[in-house]
Subunit: 121 residues, 2 copies
DNA sequence: GTATTATATGAACAATTGTTCATATGTTCT
DNA sequence: AGAACATATGAACAATTGTTCATATAATAC
């Protein structure tokens, strides 16, 4: 029977609602997409990066200015900016020695503020 | 001078655009709020929890069914559900021995899908 | 009461992450 | 060319995180 197959030692308990599980399974996100999405949110999951993003809502900024604003050293900020850039949350442009960072698109601000309204509830 | 104060060894480089920094500082998020927001997004930043949330878009589910769906043991799922509940992303109701979990509000799905449209770009 | 089942939880461990330090790269100015 | 400055990056370390295992709690059935 199907029920016996489902009980195949997946967890210490048995599948209780096989119909629900089968129906939900049809709508499940791909493994790859779940990984990408988790990686995306991980980038938001750090106080320093939250502050950097929040700062960039106001203005593009160079690395030194962000470091001064957040009272952190240049290296730490640079490492974080790299992560933000790899996740395509920010973009950069170079002007001489100075590299300016800014938000990559408006999705970012929307996600940010949706999160903010949740935590403010 | 103000400029000398600003150069006060905050980072290895100097503040380049003091006016920008001062203006941005006015719009900065509180430390506490930044922490809360980062904590909120951290909860989204895990593949297992992403899948659990995605599953709950389709239907409320009990712990066993989620464990079976994701092919993980009951304890791992229970730990993750606790985190989701602490962050108020899911709520639970007990019916006899079985505890059913469901999404706490629609914010969650909005954040989720905004993130998804970013990673799909 | 005991047995069984569903869920929760604490401890331990491996894996990941953020910051610091030292140093490298890239650009401008002299 | 070399000096000065802004930024990037690799290695190391501490701190955090997710899973597993063992066990505890809670509800039902006998």
């Amino acid at each position: 029977m199907d029920n016996e197959a489902a009980n195949f030692e997946i967890c210490s308990c048995n599948v209780i609602h096989e119909d629900v599980v089968n129906r939900v399974r049809k709508n499940m996100i791909d493994d790859d997409e779940a990984t990408d999405l988790a990686e995306f949110f991980k980038v938001f999951g750090d106080e320093t990066r939250i502050k950097i993003l929040n700062a960039l809502f106001s203005s593009e900024m160079c690395v030194c200015d962000i470091a001064a604003l957040l009272d952190m050293n240049q290296s730490a900020i640079s490492h974080q900016l790299r992560k933000l850039k790899q996740a395509r949350l920010v973009k950069s442009r170079r002007d001489g020695k100075v590299v300016y960072y800014s938000l990559n698109d408006e999705h970012i601000e929307q996600v940010f503020h949706q999160g903010l309204s949740h935590v403010r509830e």
